[in-house]
Structure formats: C-alpha cells, structure tokens
C-alpha cells in the first residue's frame, strides 16, 4: 500500500482502469516521452488527452473497443485477445501476439 497504491493514487494513470497501459506501451515501444505518448494514444482512441485518465470515459470506450477492461465481463477480450486488439489499435508489434500469429501461420 505504501508504494504501489500510494503512487497510483497520487499520480498514476491507473492501468487498464483507464488508459495508462496504452500510454506505457508507446513509451516502451517507440521511446515516446510522456506528452507525445499521451497525444498518440488519445488520437488513436479519439478522445481528449485529459480523458485518458477518466475512468468513466475509458471504461465505456475500452468495452466498446474490446481492448480489455478491469472487471470481468463475459465475452470481453482478456489477456492475449486484448493484446492482439491493442497491437492493431496502437499499430505496434506486441511479442506474444506475434508469437500467436506465428503459431497460427498467419504471418
């Protein structure tokens, strides 16, 4: 509680509750600084940058885009399914998704 939760509550983007995981992916995949990564993800999602951390906006949008939500929803994409859709949405390769495609001889 002292570190992980305190940091998330003080300054975090809240992972898959909102869009923090997507912004993080752009930082790692393309070495984007925070501002650029937020703008890139907001554009791909069709929302304002401020809405990336708005749980109400992102919960509904994540469900609509089927890219993984924080609670269990029957039929919703989870894990590798969600990652495959995120890879397509953000236009970045995601290693386990590439492996799945290889196993399925899709590429």
């Amino acid at each position: 509680m002292g570190m992980p939760i305190a940091h998330v509550m003080a300054s975090g983007m809240q992972g898959i509750r909102a869009a923090g995981d997507l912004v993080a992916r752009m930082q790692f995949a393309k070495r984007m600084r925070l501002k650029e990564a937020k703008e890139y993800v907001a554009k791909k999602l069709g929302v304002d940058v401020i809405e990336l951390v708005d749980v109400e906006t992102m919960r509904n949008l994540r469900e609509e885009l089927d890219i993984g939500v924080v609670t269990s929803v029957p039929g919703a994409a989870t894990g590798i399914e969600a990652k495959a859709r995120i890879s397509e949405l953000l236009d970045i390769p995601i290693a386990p998704v590439e492996r799945l495609k290889s196993k399925m001889k899709l590429e």
Partner: protein, 352 residues
C-alpha cells in the same frame, strides 16, 4: 506554526516553514554541487515547500499531470516471504501479476525470480520460459522480465572469480581489476542467454534493476547486454539504477569512450541511450539522517537534470530509500505522495 515532516528513516518530526525552506535550499544545492547541475529555481523551491506544507495527509497531482506508473521487483512484494519487503501471501507469480494489473492499477508489470538476480535464473530458465508463456496468455498490460545484474554473485565465495575487495586489501590491484573484468564478461553472457531464451517464447522486454549496484563493471556488463539484446531481438529494455553515482570499484572501465565511474543520472542516461535502452530509471539515495525536505529537494534536482538531458522516457525509481522516499520498509503515504507529486510536477518525469 509547525508542520509534520519526516526524517529520511521515516521518523515523524515537526518543522517550521522556515526550517523546511532552509532544508530545501540545502538539499538542492547539495545535488547541484555534486552533479554540477542547476539547482531548483526559487519558484520550484517555493512549490516544493507548498507540497511539503500541504495540510492534507496525502496529496496528488493536478488533473492532466498524471504519469505512467511501472513496477520493479516482480511479484515479490506479494508472495515474497524472506524478509525482503514481501507480504508473504501464498499466491502464484501469475496471480501476483494479475493482482497488480486488475487491483493496483499498474501500467506495466514484471515477472521475476524470488532471488531477483540474473545468475540464479540460468539453471531454471525453462521454468521461467513456461511461466512467462502462461502470463502472456492472461495479462493485458506490458509484462517485462526483471532481475538484478548483481555482479557480486560472480565473486568468491558466491562465484568463480577473486573477490575484488580481498584483492585490493592484499595490495593486488591488477588482480582486483581483472576479476571485475572477467565477472562482467560472464554477467553479460548470462543476461543475454536468459533474455534471448525468454524472447524466444514471446517475452516482451527486460528490466535491468539496480544496475551498477556492484560498481562500474556491473554497469558495463549491463550496457553490453543491452547492446546485444537490442541488436539481436525485439525486446524492449528498461534500465533502473542503484544509486545516484556510479561507484568506481574498477575505476577505469569505459563504454564507447565514456568512463563509467562517477557518472551522475544526467550522464548515466546518455550512456544508456547509446546502448539502446528504451526507458531509463534514475536513482537518488535517501540520507536517513536528514529530513525529507532536504532529501526530496536533492532527489528532484538530480532527476530534473536527468529528464532534461534525456532523449528517452524517464521513469524515476521511488521505492523505499530512493527518489525522495523514506528509507523504511513500509513508507508513510504522506511522504510517498508528496515525493510522487514533486517528481511529476517539478522534475517532469515520464513515469515512476
């Protein structure tokens, strides 16, 4: 009027606003002098004073100033039960990762071996490969493999090479330097072996955690491993440091023309960039005898200079004892949230 503050060891104290102001000035000047970097401006010092004197128990950033929050140490804080800050809940590492993803709101996570050093992973690489395969089926967020380069494990009595401390004490300087160079070669080889095997089964990336804990040779081994992994795989690489200053236990090791001993965060990041690191984690160690106003000002000064020098995202290390956080195993959220806000809004970090 007095305000609650803490010492670097977490002990609760009271300070006047004037005392905190003086501590902030002394802390930022200490970093500026050591690192030969700019001290915080008067406005930045005033803002940090406002954060520290905020009457609320916990504080947070203004809307729009949120940053990415990532984690090192893997799931050991959940299932670890060996006196290393884990809380000993008997769940699998897979469950620990999903808890971080779906209950803690983290933006990335890690898989890590309970020892959390690379060397012990080598004999159990098949176990780690199959665990990351299962994790990758169920996790939505980016999951790295995390471990420490930990060059100390390559020296006698834990490893095959002479212990540099013993060699130095015996007056055998050449032997001490040779042992570090050989250890670095082996650590480099082990890190590459482990991460290439994990890449082969779909692992997304690596976090080299507490890099340079065993000095400049430790840093060199990690830079060389990064260079090879970026050349031969598609792994993303995060490099987190162990201290604000690279200890020159060897003293003359260079990477691409830069002597590694003595580098501060704004210099460390430029070397990391050359090796191909994607995200860099600077560290500033907490002085337990000084108050947190001094420590926070010092940490923010070092990290701000690093952020400004960097061309890659900066995720500052802010666990217990680093990054303006008290050196206490269960740090108080009043100081953690103040440090979090200061790093986001003064140092302008890309993440934690």
């Amino acid at each position: 009027m007095e305000y609650y503050c803490r010492l670097g060891d977490g002990h609760l104290i009271k300070m006047t606003k004037e005392e905190m102001k003086n501590s902030i000035e002394a802390g930022t000047n200490d970093a500026a002098e050591r690192g030969e970097i700019p001290a915080l401006s008067d406005d930045e010092q005033e803002f940090l004073l406002d954060i520290l004197c905020n009457p609320n128990k916990n504080v947070s950033v203004e809307p729009g100033n949120e940053i990415v929050v990532t984690h090192d140490i893997g799931t050991i804080r959940i299932d670890g039960d060996q006196g290393n800050s884990g809380v000993g809940i008997p769940v699998s590492r897979l469950a620990g990762i999903l808890i971080h993803e779906r209950a803690f709101g983290t933006d990335t996570m890690e898989l890590g071996h309970i020892d959390y050093s690379f060397k012990p992973v080598k004999p159990i690489i098949f176990q780690e490969q199959q665990t990351i395969e299962r994790v990758n089926l169920l996790a939505t967020i980016l999951v790295l493999y995390g471990a420490m380069p930990n060059l100390g494990l390559y020296y006698y009595p834990d490893g095959p090479f002479n212990n540099p401390s013993e060699r130095f004490q015996a007056g055998d300087v050449a032997g001490a330097l040779e042992a570090q160079e050989k250890a670095a070669e082996h650590a480099h080889r082990d890190m590459v072996y482990i991460m290439k095997n994990l890449w082969d089964v779909g692992c997304e990336g690596v976090n080299f955690d507490t890099t340079a804990a065993a000095g400049d040779a430790d840093f060199y081994a990690t830079l060389m491993a990064t260079e090879e992994l970026k050349r031969d795989t598609g792994l993303v690489v995060e490099m987190g440091m162990a201290a604000e200053n690279v200890i020159g236990i060897h003293g003359s090791i260079e990477y691409k023309g830069t002597r590694l001993a003595g580098l501060y965060p704004h210099e460390q990041v430029k070397v990391a960039e050359k090796a191909g690191v994607d995200v860099f984690g600077p560290v500033c160690n907490t002085n337990t005898s000084r108050d947190m106003a001094w420590n926070m000002a010092r940490a923010v000064t070092f990290v701000k200079a690093c952020v400004e020098a960097s061309d890659i995202p900066i995720h500052v290390n802010m666990g217990m004892g680093v990054g303006g956080t008290p050196m206490f195993e269960t740090p108080a959220t009043d100081m953690v949230t103040r440090a979090s806000k200061a790093m986001a809004e003064i140092a302008k970090v890309d993440g934690i």
